[in-house]
């Protein structure tokens, strides 16, 4: 036991490198997911016709397909990029976009219709009304859903090993699979702790941001 923990501590630098990859991959994927997911959510609420249907269908397919299949198809099938990091970002980002679109769709829909109507009544165009009145309110309401999504993406980054990207969990597994040590349990606990700290710190920070931007006297944030 003693030496197993010592082994983990001795390899902490490696785990931290893996953590770096995990954090970078999560950040890039969440960002890509936001850049695609937010407009997609808006299209699902306010769009019509073929565009809306296309977005909805893409969403169902992306959400219904296991991430593993998406990532393998993108890397080995379509070969979108020779970089595993880029491919993993695209795969995680696309799938996250599909989920984020639903978070934002829900948030946009939860803004009272009267808000849009009142904005139109002062003479704003539809797009402008959505942008200046509905979106600022919806973004505040999407924080809880966004926290969930962040948690999920963070942990799903470990799937990137199928295309050779060694992030936190893989680095951890490599440690005990190297035959140097039997510290499998200790490694798993340490890796879990790192994930936990990442989740906890991020979600509390988001809570803080949420509080900071909450509307005085408004709904429970």
């Amino acid at each position: 036991m003693q030496s197993d923990w010592a082994f983990v501590v001795g390899n902490l630098d490696l785990l931290l490198v893996g953590t770096g990859v995990t954090v970078a991959l999560t950040a890039a994927s969440i960002l890509l997911g936001f850049l695609l997911g937010f407009p997609a959510g808006a299209v699902e609420v306010y769009g019509r016709g073929p565009l809306k249907r296309a977005v909805e269908t893409a969403g169902v397919v992306l959400r219904g397909t296991p991430l593993l299949v998406i990532i393998i198809l993108l890397f080995f099938g379509l070969s979108v990029s020779s970089s595993a990091f880029v491919t993993a970002t695209i795969a995680l980002g696309l799938r996250s976009a599909a989920y984020q679109s639903q978070i934002f769709r829900g948030a946009l829909q939860s803004v009272d219709e009267g808000q849009l109507e009142a904005a139109r009544a002062v003479g704003m165009g539809r797009l402008q009304a959505i942008r200046s009145v509905v979106v600022p309110q919806a973004l505040r309401r999407s924080v809880p859903g966004f926290q969930n999504e962040f948690t999920i993406v963070l942990k799903d980054t470990s799937i990137a090993i199928v295309i050779g990207l060694g992030e936190l969990l893989t680095v951890g597994q490599n440690l005990y699979q190297g035959g140097q040590s039997t510290a499998a349990l200790e490694i798993f606990l340490t890796v879990s702790l790192i994930y936990f700290v990442l989740t906890f710190v991020t979600n509390r920070s988001l809570d803080y941001v949420d509080d900071h931007f909450s509307i005085p006297g408004g709904e429970r944030a």
Binding site: G106, S142, L169, F196
Partner: protein, 326 residues
């Protein structure tokens, strides 16, 4: 956090997939899928291979192979304009290649379904008190519930599986229980996975239910108390029946997630759909066909779950309550 709007946020995959379920073709496909599964399971598990030998597909491959080669020839003879025919030929080729793998995958689907259903159902049993504790509990119960949720959401499911399977005596205990690992009752690894999914899913489900409970107007409990119901009874007879209905959409998402995350159980040797696919693929190297096939089976399960939840939602719908609104 967890205001009414996160309930609406929850209306996601299921609601969207419902768009697909309007189409009769989808219903037909799902119907065929389930007929095949049930016949397959009956044959393999109950009739001991009486209809057809285990591991032998119901469908012959020859017709598909010949269709594929005929169409392939046709596509070649059509030259550059033959590509649509070429696609069709490719499709038949895929079918011909997939058919032999269907029987073992059906067995994998059984484990996947069992794992998902047990995980979600048992998780629900824990999630309800957990969410009630979060919303109505005192300081201590609230912190315990919060700690539980953060712990199981903040650490990887893989690590939870690992710890339960390799680092606790669970397997030793479970494998001594009668009937475990005989017939269609899976072995200990499966039950450890059920425990892990239950504990993990309870954390996620409790969040969905919590935000639904929050969206029940406070006046409802006040009114319940004003006719003399105790707090617990008020929650039980007034708040929960409404909150759980609000929770259905978000909760359905969790069901869909669980179907897909059940594949992680392969890590501790559970022979569910993904494990079967993976092990056949590593033997035959037909990765593409097998993963596409598994993807389709997962999609069929997800759509079935959507249909089921849609039905449930309709059955328990009450005018003016919850999701039938905008």
């Amino acid at each position: 956090m967890g205001t009414p709007e996160s309930t609406t946020t929850g209306r996601t995959i299921r609601a969207r997939a419902a768009g697909l379920t309007d189409q009769p073709l989808t219903l037909l496909t799902v119907g065929a899928f389930w007929t095949w599964l049930v016949v397959r399971w009956t044959n393999d598990f109950l009739l001991d291979g009486a209809l057809i030998e285990r591991n032998t597909s119901f469908f012959p491959t020859a017709p598909f192979e010949s269709a594929a080669s005929t169409l392939g020839g046709l596509a070649a003879s059509l030259g550059p304009v033959g590509f649509p025919v070429g696609w069709v030929a490719g499709f038949f080729e895929f079918l011909a290649a997939s058919i032999p793998y269907l029987p073992p995958l059906a067995t994998g689907v059984w484990a996947t379904i069992l794992l998902t259903l047990l995980g979600i159902a048992l998780g629900f049993v824990i999630a309800v008190p957990l969410s009630v504790a979060r919303v109505y509990g005192g300081g201590a119960t609230r912190s315990v519930a919060l700690g539980y949720t953060e712990l199981f959401r903040g650490t990887p499911l893989l690590a939870q599986l690992f710890v339960l399977y390799f680092a606790t005596p669970l397997t030793t205990i479970i494998r001594e229980l009668p009937t475990v690992g005989t017939g269609f009752i899976p072995a200990q690894a499966f039950w450890v996975a059920v425990i892990a999914f239950t504990l993990n899913s309870a954390a996620y489900q409790s969040e969905y239910i919590r935000s639904a409970l929050n969206s029940v107007p406070e006046g409802q409990l006040t009114a319940a108390r004003s006719i003399g119901l105790s707090k617990v009874d008020g929650i039980r007879h007034v708040v929960l029946p409404q909150g759980l209905r609000y929770a259905i959409p978000g909760w359905s998402n969790e069901l869909v997630y669980l179907i897909k995350y059940s594949s992680l159980a392969s890590f501790i040797t559970v022979r569910e759909l993904f494990q079967r696919t993976d092990s056949i693929a590593s033997e035959t190297y037909r990765y593409t066909e097998l993963f596409v096939l598994a993807g389709l089976l997962y999609l069929a399960l997800v759509i079935s779950a959507s249909l089921l939840m849609e039905y449930v939602e309709d059955r328990v719908a009450i005018p003016g309550l919850g999701t039938t609104g905008r």
